[in-house]
Symmetry: C2
Subunit: 133 residues, 2 copies
Amino acid sequence: MTRRHSTQKGMIKDALARLDHPTAAEVYEEIRKIYPQISLGTVYRNLNLMAGDGEILRLPFSGAPDRFDPNVREHFHVMCSRCGRIFDTNHTIPPGLITQIDHAVEACTGVKVESRVMIFKGICAACQPAGQT
Amino acid sequence: MTRRHSTQKGMIKDALARLDHPTAAEVYEEIRKIYPQISLGTVYRNLNLMAGDGEILRLPFSGAPDRFDPNVREHFHVMCSRCGRIFDTNHTIPPGLITQIDHAVEACTGVKVESRVMIFKGICAACQPAGQT
DNA sequence: TTAAATAATAGTAACTATTACTATTATTAA
DNA sequence: TTAATAATAGTAATAGTTACTATTATTTAA
């Protein structure tokens, strides 16, 4: 099961870089503009392979399709509950905070934490009522 | 649209208390043992109503059905990636840590955080290789 | 440089989780 | 006690995703 190159795989990577946390369907539609015969199954299969290989992240959202992120550096996601836009956190989140939470979780559950999904919800700057930011 | 009582609703609450973070399907099967004519739609509708009213929590898991939790106190969830069991954190998680993370997220994204989904993954005590806990 | 081995593809069918629809039943407030 | 209507069972429909299959493309090695 050694990996092989394919044109489609390259297009999927490019689409991920161009789009902002797209769903599989959004990647599919983007590629269809220039390569209409691509199959949705191909998009899913490649996204799953890449996610399995740790090349990209698969982000779960309750009651909505999963989204994909080519940025695999440790960071978190924030969704505006008004407009639905997804924001990335950056390097300014102190890694120590995460370590502290991991430890607290381990202390009270006995589970050795290996990873975490943290998705924050709130109102983004653009959606805040005027004069309240 | 005022809420009315129903036998089914009571059974769903009981099942939630008895089971451990069940899926809608698990609630349905549990109730079917004693009330075979219950409908899966009824289970979903009531779980959604309760979640909407803040009476219970709906927990999203990537690539798996949502789970429901009658405990609405602020706490987090830890899933053992070996056995799949879900653990609750308890009151020993310092709330200050969460506030600090919220602030850090707000500082770098401009999003006023209102809620967060945090699901941790790791290996639970029972699944740890012997003599390593 | 071909040829054999097989990974990847397009297209479609199937599946799982969830919601929507509808005729009927049950609850509730007057 | 009955009228108004929320809730139900049963079923159909939907959305997201995966599985299947015959064909095509990539790769490795002769």
